[in-house]
């Protein structure tokens, strides 16, 4: 069976969920061979084997942390040369897309970004994508070279499928471009203890209607009662009420949770672009005409300062 390269997104050996989802999709096309780079690369092997990786190619070097993107492209290309895979799958993070794009040029292949589903077809893997703020669904495929496809988080279920996951050292020689962009400083993000926005099953978001940084405590309290991640509209982020990392929408994160709760958000097209594919959508807005109500499964026309605390209290009571 053909091998499929899967680029592993991990933090010091802890594999991030979208990579495990990628393994599920990779198994529809062939046998997943994972590529894990940087500090902790070998520690990823157990989780990857558990989810279907037949092999885990690893390499660590200071270059991965000290320079932007290109060292990882060099390594992925080395893995490509070693394996001759039927496809290369990469998680659709900002960095993942850039790595995939540069690899595609090098190996003379077409690239598809932000797939939300993947199936095997007569002429190679077929990717499903969302277009125009998720108002269209397209099916496409790579028509030249080895398909390079980046896949969005939450595109498949994580499934256990134990495989050998044998660790093999990848041999990598860095290109002249590898050291072009130096990383001169790095400030890690502080963890909030809440689920990762793009991975969360429930997302609770606040917008301009929240009217102040201090009021976001109301949104956070609701999120915590549901075990949810917190999101924000760009209006709330631009006002400085919530960090940009939590922004949902075209220029923020795109989320596709089981439940999306929008409070004080009008539902502009750029916001919808990042949340429209959520399974269930509910909204609280005092304006009955707000476009967000066109999307909802359940909407409450009312003042969020009344409705949200009551909702949080009711949830807390019901959960006992």
């Amino acid at each position: 069976m053909a091998e499929v390269l899967v680029y592993v997104d991990h933090v010091d050996g802890a594999v991030r969920k979208p990579t495990l989802e990628l393994l599920t999709l990779a198994r529809r096309i062939g046998e997943p061979v994972a590529v894990a780079l940087g500090s902790g690369a070998e520690a990823t092997a157990a989780a990857l084997a558990e989810h279907g990786a037949v092999k885990v190619l690893t390499h660590d070097a200071a270059e991965y942390a000290d320079y932007l993107v290109v060292p990882k492209v060099d390594a992925l290309q080395a893995a490509y040369d070693a394996v001759s895979p039927a496809a290369v799958l990469v998680p659709s993070s900002a960095e993942g897309k850039e790595i995939a794009a540069r690899l595609a040029i090098r190996i003379g292949s077409g690239i598809i970004t932000d797939a939300v589903d993947l199936e095997s077809g007569d002429e190679g893997p077929v990717a499903t994508q969302s277009a125009f703020a998720a108002s269209f669904t397209t099916k496409s495929r790579v028509s030249k070279g080895t398909p390079v496809i980046t896949v969005k988080p939450n595109s498949a279920a994580v499934e256990a499928a134990p495989a050998a996951g044998a660790v093999e050292a990848l041999s990598v020689s860095f290109s002249a471009q590898a050291t072009g962009t130096r990383v001169t400083g790095r400030t890690p993000r502080e963890s909030t203890g809440r689920p990762e926005l793009t991975e969360a099953a429930i997302v609770v978001s606040g917008g301009r209607g929240v009217n102040g940084a201090e009021n976001f405590a109301i949104i956070e309290a609701l999120a915590d009662s549901l075990g949810a991640a917190v999101g924000a509209s760009r209006a709330a982020v631009d006002a400085g009420w919530y960090p940009h990392t939590n922004q949902v929408g075209q220029t923020g994160k795109s989320v596709s949770p089981q439940l999306y709760v929008a409070s004080g958000i009008s539902g502009a097209i750029q916001h919808r672009a990042g949340m429209q594919t959520s399974k269930t959508i509910v909204a609280i807005n005092k304006d009955a005409e707000a476009p967000i109500f066109d999307l909802v499964d359940y909407g409450v026309v009312g003042d969020l300062f009344e409705v949200v605390p009551q909702l949080t209290e009711e949830i807390t009571t019901r959960k006992g």
Binding site: F136, T245, V282
Partner: protein, 261 residues
């Protein structure tokens, strides 16, 4: 020596319009009004600020697109860019990101550059890969997705706010930079700027000018194929209640019914 900045800008269908696909499954650019991609305004803005700081700088805005894409160039010129290049050719219709990066790379090389500045993503394709593709093709450093950028003594520095960390980056020119919408509000063209833009030079180049063949670009030269595009069914109308004092409880009841509580 003058700092030569090339800003790549895209002409896109208005996101608030009714966007759809044409019969050949390319983005329909006829039925919806087009404009300069809003995210590229941030690239023009940062170019203007970098030029202000430099002793001597020249900003060229570059687009690859249909005839109407001139509107995007005019807007960028009215914001303050010095001149424009429009790569226009009937054979370009349907070019994908890989093909676009090829055309941009040829055009940037022909124009001459020290610094290329792009937007973070186009608002129609939203791939966000063209700057990386361009850097790969040009063989120069990529310093992308910056929320802060400055150029000093032949070195570009910037801050990239990623998922897990915020990074300070640095590279020697020539380089390809892309900036996010966090990089700072883009200016509105002034009346004076709009008048001045009318007199600024706009060059038009075709594939031959760039030494490219029709087979390398366009729908035929594209390395990806869209097989189908279908409109997402509208979400079925949900229940909407007016809060009469019990709105939060009613919503909780709904969520419990859906097994979220």
């Amino acid at each position: 020596m003058s700092l030569r900045i090339v800003v790549t800008v895209k002409y896109v269908p208005d996101a608030t319009g009714d966007r759809h696909f044409a019969e050949d499954l390319t983005v329909d650019r006829d039925d919806v009004d087009g404009l300069l991609s809003e995210l590229d305004e941030y690239a023009v803005e940062q170019a203007l600020q970098i030029a202000d700081e430099a002793d001597d700088a020249e900003i060229t805005v570059l687009t690859v697109g249909p005839e109407d894409a001139k509107d995007a160039l005019r807007k960028a010129l009215s914001m303050g860019a010095d001149k424009a290049i429009h790569v226009e050719d009937d054979d370009l219709h349907g070019t994908d990101a890989v093909g676009t990066s090829l055309v941009l790379a040829k055009a940037v090389e022909k124009a001459g550059y020290d610094l290329v500045i792009s937007g973070m993503a186009s608002t129609d394709g939203t791939m966000g890969v063209v700057p990386a593709l361009l850097a790969e093709r040009l063989g120069v450093p990529q310093v992308t997705l910056l929320s802060e950028v400055s150029v000093d003594g032949g070195v570009v520095k910037g801050r990239r706010d990623g998922d897990t960390a915020s990074e300070q980056l640095e590279a020697s020119l020539p380089a390809v930079v892309s900036v996010t919408d966090q990089s700072g509000e883009a200016r509105y063209p002034s009346f004076k700027g709009i008048m001045a833009a009318k007199k600024k030079p706009v060059e038009s180049w075709d594939l031959e000018d760039l030494g490219l063949d029709a087979e390398e670009v366009g729908l035929e030269g594209s390395w990806t194929k869209v097989d189908s595009a279908s409109e997402r069914p509208a979400r079925t109308a949900g229940t909407i209640v007016k809060d009469e004092g019990e709105g939060g409880k009613q919503l909780a009841e709904f969520l419990a019914g859906q097994k979220f509580i």
